[in-house]
Symmetry: D2
């Protein structure tokens, strides 16, 4: 259990979970997606993160989905399991389950329902308890657009000292926050951005990679952007970042997971339905989305 | 399945779930609490609502807790089960489970993780699907301080037409909103406030009762307030409302569920521990709480 | 300079400032409005509050408008001047000016541009400095929907001890907050609500009156509501509150000051234009507004 | 009146306005500051922006301060006047005044008091009316941390077509937003960031410069960062950005304008007092600030 054995450098799609119109999980669709993505030089996958509608799955469904995913993901690519729950005890149980199903690491979202009680002290206590109790390394995960909890710099820096906490996915989009975390945390603490809209900036400032919904539909563009920055080709990176900006906005903040899944369907992947209460995009939104994909050179 | 058979008039404590220091549910403690509360003229209980730390329980734990609670709650008092989950399908499954365990009705919180997707349209679709599929009547439940989703007046009024949606618990604290709902909804749609701080105002304006965390520690005061308003004794009601205001603030917004449980311990109930990541109150906070209870005449 | 000499009991319209299409202030229109309002049993007027578009007027324009208003307001009715500015020194200067123009009291909104700096300590310091320096009593004014600063209970209670701070206008709409202020503040500290949607509740709980935009278009309904509550006729009060709820929503939160002025025009008052950048309501919004006024029995 | 004549490339400090302990503006202190800053290769100055406590000054005070500043700023450096007010008409009047006092351009903050009414449509109307009526070019200015209004991408792109609107200062800190504006706006539309914490990222993605509070106390570091990015020395730029991050945070979001002025005093500039209601930093905060300045290599 050491931090140094697991590199998070590169691009990770947080893969969607395909459902039938009746709401059943369709493993075959997911396998076809993974087969397509495996052709690209992705560092691995986040399986059952926010984009994977994890909050809509039962624990048994999670176990089955991770098992399927592990069998479809090459051994040299990471499977990072979205394993955070509201309670510390359930987070530990689900993370252990993910480990048994072959996850290399777990992504642990901040608990958030009682957000007034989720002080830095409470969150540090939670993450330490989880990290102490599970057999795989964990990544902190701050995504205030969903949780309304923004894991603070001080808490992150304190937790970065823990030998089993190897990194952070921050989806808040603040590059100033990333800069300060990278400055203060130990050098082997690995920061990933969860926001494709700041991928270039985050990489420039020292993030090692990204967990990007955009990588589900534009894996090569995300990889290109990553490589350009690593090689110091900033102008080329800016060109990719700028071209992808509207595609990313459309498939995340603007049309949400239903928009991302619809874009996948349009581009030859298997998006499938969302689970209720998420609704499919309207016809008007679908058409806007199609135009954005065309303008971005994907369709 | 008719609306008219179930009256929600009166006071309902949303009961806390007692845990041991190790985090196990303690049914015996809960039974002792219910025995104490049963001495008061309460209309019933909400079991596994927000105050019951429902988000920290597994489905099996919920089933066992409801079974225990039903056996301890007299048949002439309502057991309202907190049954809302993120997905429509899990909400249906859990509500059916609650019905099997003897719940008279279910309290269904708004789904909220993907809050940008929780449009009025999505929420109306969700609640109708749930109401259509379950054997017990449901109450809508809007609690933006936890969910950051405020179920809108238009959605509520539309849903109030459904024969299996008998009422609403609104914890947002806006009496202007309550007024407008009561004006627009069918006469048999029953509105409960979830905010003891506006209980008098809500009752005056036509709410039929309240689901009040305060009723766990001050059941008689809540019942007195209710009776005063029903009998038109406004000045007496104001006196109770005013005296209880700081007690209510301290055991809800100020010190949260840990504060409420600590107050229960101080007052002869069995509060027990919270589950992690909720932390117990500090010694300073405990002392403040004690003083508030003394000033409120409870201790 | 004593608190007891000035009663704030009753209904105060915060009068709009009529502008020509070119944006000039039209004193004649304002005089005609005041003549109409003077026929009702209003306690007085707030002149150049938020509803008066005070932030769009120069100091000279304020001086002239107060002078005009004072000459049109009977001596036995209060003229409360909206005099708060961002800086303490300008607030003092403008309040002194208002006093010279005949204002009986000043309504002093919380400074707010640097809201992170507007701590309780800073606001208490500000209000004390103003209250010490001006020749007329002042009212605290908290209106978070515009300022994003919510003057806290502790600050209000501390300031209520000052001999020249006679009351509070709270427009946040929280009756729980009002209850707590009334409980803690000295008995002669007078609380007004700025939210017609909670007028009944506020009066019941001990507020002495209201500064209500609604009173500009429905003065008699507001007075009726006030009298019903004072006389203990709660059911009659509820009927008025409920009937006026949609009218109030439409002319405040929903369509803003442009909506209120349009409603005034429809009802025989002189609303006039707003100043830019506020835009007039669309035709669709005007029609909705008309229907709301008809449904409310005003048109 | 053409866009192309005025380059906004480079670093602009938004200079603070020094006050005596009694709150009087001290021109001599400001002159001494400008003399010090003039030794650096700054592109110009923003005079009476948010950092200049403009909301605390009367119009006469603004006129005098701009006149003084113009006389102390070399002709080959820009004086950009913070001229935005709540009303369109006052914004025009104050911008004309700034032009008479020698301002090269005006920075026009979004009106915001009636924020629900500040729709894209209203803001576009406002800015066009101002741009049409004033003799100097204007910059749009979005600073949601103060105004709670975030000028939207669509409005900015529409306004960028106006011949007298030459650029934007965006202080919201979203580099994704900047990317999209730069992608959509005409090539000669000049984007400045107002957030030193994202200066590197913004420049990389196509911003031409920054209006940085940090430049008041660390002008050379800001200039170095700018030059490194322009010359493609990204690693050197990252080093400066990282070193300055805590200094910037301390003198903006953490301790506000009082913190910035205190830092100026510590570093040999003339910070002076703030105007009330802003309070000076506590002794503890001063000490923290001093340590941050030492760690940043400034002290």
């Amino acid at each position: 259990m050491t931090n140094t054995s697991l590199s998070l450098a590169g691009v990770f799609p947080p893969i969607p979970t395909p459902f039938s119109q009746e709401g059943a999980i369709d493993h075959a669709m997911a396998r076809r997606n993974l087969a397509l993505w495996n052709r690209f030089d992705l560092a691995g996958y986040v399986v059952l993160g926010s984009t994977g509608e994890a909050v809509y799955l039962t624990t048994d469904e999670k176990a089955d989905f991770w098992e399927m995913a592990r069998s479809a993901i090459p051994a040299d690519r990471l499977m990072i399991a979205g394993a955070g729950c509201e309670s510390t005890r359930e987070t530990i149980a689900v993370t252990r389950l993910a480990a048994r199903q072959g996850a290399d690491a777990a992504l642990v979202v901040t608990p958030h329902y009682y957000d007034a009680g989720m002080t830095s002290q409470a969150l540090v206590h939670h993450y330490r308890a989880v990290a102490d109790a599970v057999p795989i390394p964990i990544l902190l995960y701050s995504v205030p657009q969903f949780t309304h909890v923004d894991l603070g710099i001080d808490a992150i820096v304190a937790l970065a000292e823990h030998p089993n906490i190897i990194g952070l996915k921050d989806s808040g989009g603040s590059v100033a926050k990333l800069t300060e975390i990278i400055r203060q945390a130990p050098e082997d603490f690995q920061v990933l951005t969860g926001s494709a809209g700041v991928f270039l900036a985050a990489l420039t400032l020292g993030a090692v990679g990204g967990v990007l919904a955009l990588a589900n539909i534009a894996p090569q563009a995300c990889i290109d952007l990553y490589r350009h920055v690593v090689a110091g080709r900033i102008q080329e990176a800016v060109a990719v970042q700028t071209r992808m900006a509207p595609v990313n906005a459309a498939t995340t903040s603007r049309f949400g997971i239903p928009g991302l899944k619809t874009a996948m369907d349009m581009l030859g992947y298997e998006g499938g339905a969302t689970r209720s209460p998420l609704l499919p995009p309207s016809e008007v939104d679908r058409e806007t989305l199609r135009q954005v994909l065309v303008a971005g050179g994907l369709l």
